[in-house]
């Protein structure tokens, strides 16, 4: 028999009732090998948090089953709770307690010995560079410090499996980098991590495997490299003076990228492997055809690009506007309403330009 999987989910279905029935999870299956990191990538409302809540025994699935280190999350919920640590935007600690008190509280609730509770709390405060702030109530902490306490609290009982639900959503870039460093350290120490995120960059940096989830279904699965190979590594965004020019250019640029160019108002986007080289070709081609370029930008593919490429529709905007998520790309003036990002499969304005 092969090694037990750290996490296994089979055909999970969860429907939330109410006036509008929502299939938060619609037949989701995945597994996580021990000692690895699985990234669950998707926009708000995709079903990521629901999956984490089922795996951490907070919710029971309507159909399907899930297990953690071979223990069923419904039938052996008590055992599962001793094997997991959970941290995330919906599972926080007490903001009126100090960092140290929070960690001690979790230790006591995990029934660790009195001495171990004290030692472990101080150990984690040290590890997460919170010793100086240890005796201050959490409400005086910065966003990055609070997230570190959240993650530290999940680690108090030294669980072999860690669920991190959008650990860096809402953090500034430097706090995000810090937390990534922390998570990488944990993985090196042998902890298995399941991480949900809205950021392709985060999944790329931390996860060995990624599943992309949308409307409760897995729409792609693979290593970050595989996903990026599918998608390209750079997005070239060319802006024109009007939509007609953009449509014309999309036709001209056909063949420069493995996938068709997408047109949004007066902007054309190409997703390619070698950004600078193709960008030069783009400019050369357009110059030869005397199409005026208003602007050109290169950027990393965003979650929106992944979704556009995988589903043909844009990832929905995060509904939680306060979370400081990076904008999904430059929005050109006169762009269509969000969610109507067309992929230009059959360029109609394909014709020779008169000299």
């Amino acid at each position: 028999m092969t090694e037990t999987l750290a996490v296994e989910a089979r055909d999970l279905v969860k429907v939330f009732g109410g006036k509008l029935e929502v299939r938060a999870l619609d037949g989701v299956s995945f597994s996580v090998q021990r000692g690895t990191v699985l990234g669950v990538l998707g926009p708000n409302g995709a079903g990521k948090t629901t999956a984490v809540r089922i795996l951490s025994t907070i919710l029971t699935p309507d159909q399907g089953r899930a297990s953690v280190l071979g223990h069923d999350v419904v039938k052996e919920a008590g055992t599962v709770r001793r094997l997991i640590g959970l941290a995330g935007q919906y599972a926080t600690v007490d903001e009126n307690l100090t960092g140290r008190e929070n960690l001690r509280m979790v230790g006591r609730l995990c029934h660790m010995s009195k001495r171990d509770v004290l030692v472990r709390a101080d150990e984690l405060l040290e590890q997460f560079e919170l010793t100086d702030a240890a005796n201050r109530p959490l409400k005086t902490y910065s966003g990055g410090m609070r997230r570190r306490v959240d993650v530290a609290a999940a680690l108090v009982a030294r669980p072999p499996i860690l669920f991190l639900d959008e650990p860096t959503t809402g953090l500034d870039p430097s706090s995000r980098q810090d937390l990534w460093g922390v998570i990488e350290g944990l993985v090196q120490s042998g902890v298995t991590v399941l991480l949900t995120t809205q950021y392709l960059e985060e999944a790329d940096r931390l996860a060995e495997r990624v599943i992309v989830i949308d409307h409760g279904k897995i729409i792609a699965e693979g290593t970050p490299a595989e996903l990026k190979a599918d998608l390209g590594t750079t997005v070239i965004s060319v802006t024109f003076h009007d939509a007609a020019a953009a449509r014309e250019a999309a036709g001209l640029l056909k063949g420069l990228s493995p996938k068709d160019a997408s047109v949004d108002g007066s902007t054309v986007e190409l997703t390619v492997e070698d950004g600078p080289k193709v960008a030069a070709e783009v400019l050369r081609t357009l110059d030869q055809r005397h199409v005026d370029v208003a602007g050109l930008a290169l950027r990393e593919p965003s979650l929106d690009d992944v979704f556009l490429s995988l589903t043909g529709h844009k990832a929905e905007e995060p509904s939680d506007g306060a979370d400081g998520a990076p904008a999904p790309g430059p929005a050109p003036a006169g762009a269509g309403p969000p969610g109507h990002h067309e992929t230009d499969h059959e360029p109609t304005g394909h014709k020779e330009v008169a000299r």
Binding site: I58, R108, L109, C110
Partner: protein, 275 residues
């Protein structure tokens, strides 16, 4: 085959049915401790929640009291104080609703649910912390009462029995207010939801005025509803004399036990259902 390949068991692993009760008590203690620390971390809350019962006492003794005639010509402050005790712990119970709604809203309970702690500890710890808070409140009201001229009509022993009755009543109600807290979408709404339930029971009672001065249609409710029954019993124990009534005392005890037996399971059921 599965467990053999597990990493070393994490700290605190292994439940045995024998120590389950011990663990549940330990968890309730931990959550109680956490709730009590919360009270001390918001000094404004302590200050204003202490001021409120003092103001109620002063308001009724010095502002309304002169206009209220007590049968038998007894002093109004003696009549009033048993009602103030009950009214104060009832208003305080709103913080049970608000606190639970806030814990739900902020995600603390979500975290608790993923921990290997006793399921009963969240509600058990909340209601136990409320008892601790109410003990402080009751001591405060006793001091205020004596300062404005309240005197025990029976003896100190019965006065303490009366305080225990008030605390027991508050404990039973905590579970009811927990249900409100678990039903509310957020802490502000929890507060709004709690007051309309409190008001008729607190004011259409024998707390501040004799029920005999109310219109006939209201007297039936005002005489028999639990708050009046508990206040009458408290008066019987604290004042004796014309208020002495063994039947009120037994009825009050029955109400407290009855409310606890009904409300606690409803709260537990609601807690289990609240995802």
């Amino acid at each position: 085959m599965t467990t053999a390949t597990l990493a070393p068991a994490p700290a605190g692993a292994g439940p045995t049915s024998g120590n389950r009760v011990g663990w549940a008590i330990a968890d309730i203690k931990t959550v109680t401790w956490r709730n009590l620390i919360n009270y001390t971390r918001i000094p404004e809350q302590i200050f204003f929640s202490s001021i409120q019962p003092i103001m109620f006492t002063l308001l009724f003794v010095y502002v309304f009291g002169g206009a209220i005639k007590i049968p038998g010509g007894e002093s109004y402050v003696d009549y009033l104080m048993p009602g103030i005790f009950v009214q104060t712990v009832m208003f305080g119970a709103v913080s049970t609703s608000v606190g639970l709604a806030e814990d739900l809203q902020k995600g603390l309970i979500e975290r608790f649910r993923a921990l290997p702690m006793a399921r009963s500890a969240v509600l058990g710890g909340r209601t136990t912390a409320d008892v601790c808070r109410n003990i402080v409140v009751v001591v405060l009201i006793t001091a205020v009462g004596f300062a404005v001229g309240f005197r025990i009509g029976t003896d100190v022993g019965l006065f303490f029995v009366a305080l225990l009755l008030v605390l027991f009543f508050a404990y039973a109600l905590s579970w009811g207010f927990a249900v409100i807290g678990l039903s509310a979408p957020n802490s502000e709404t929890a507060q709004l939801m709690a007051f309309p339930i409190l008001f008729p029971f607190v004011f259409a009672s024998s707390a501040f005025v004799p029920v005999s001065t109310m219109p006939g249609w209201l007297q039936g409710f005002a005489t028999n509803q639990p708050v009046s029954v508990v206040i009458n019993a408290t008066r019987s124990l604290m004042l004796g004399g014309q208020w002495q009534s063994a039947s009120a005392e037994w009825k009050a005890l029955a109400w407290c036990v009855g409310l606890l037996v009904v409300l606690a399971p409803v709260a537990v059921w609601k807690y289990r259902r609240t995802a």
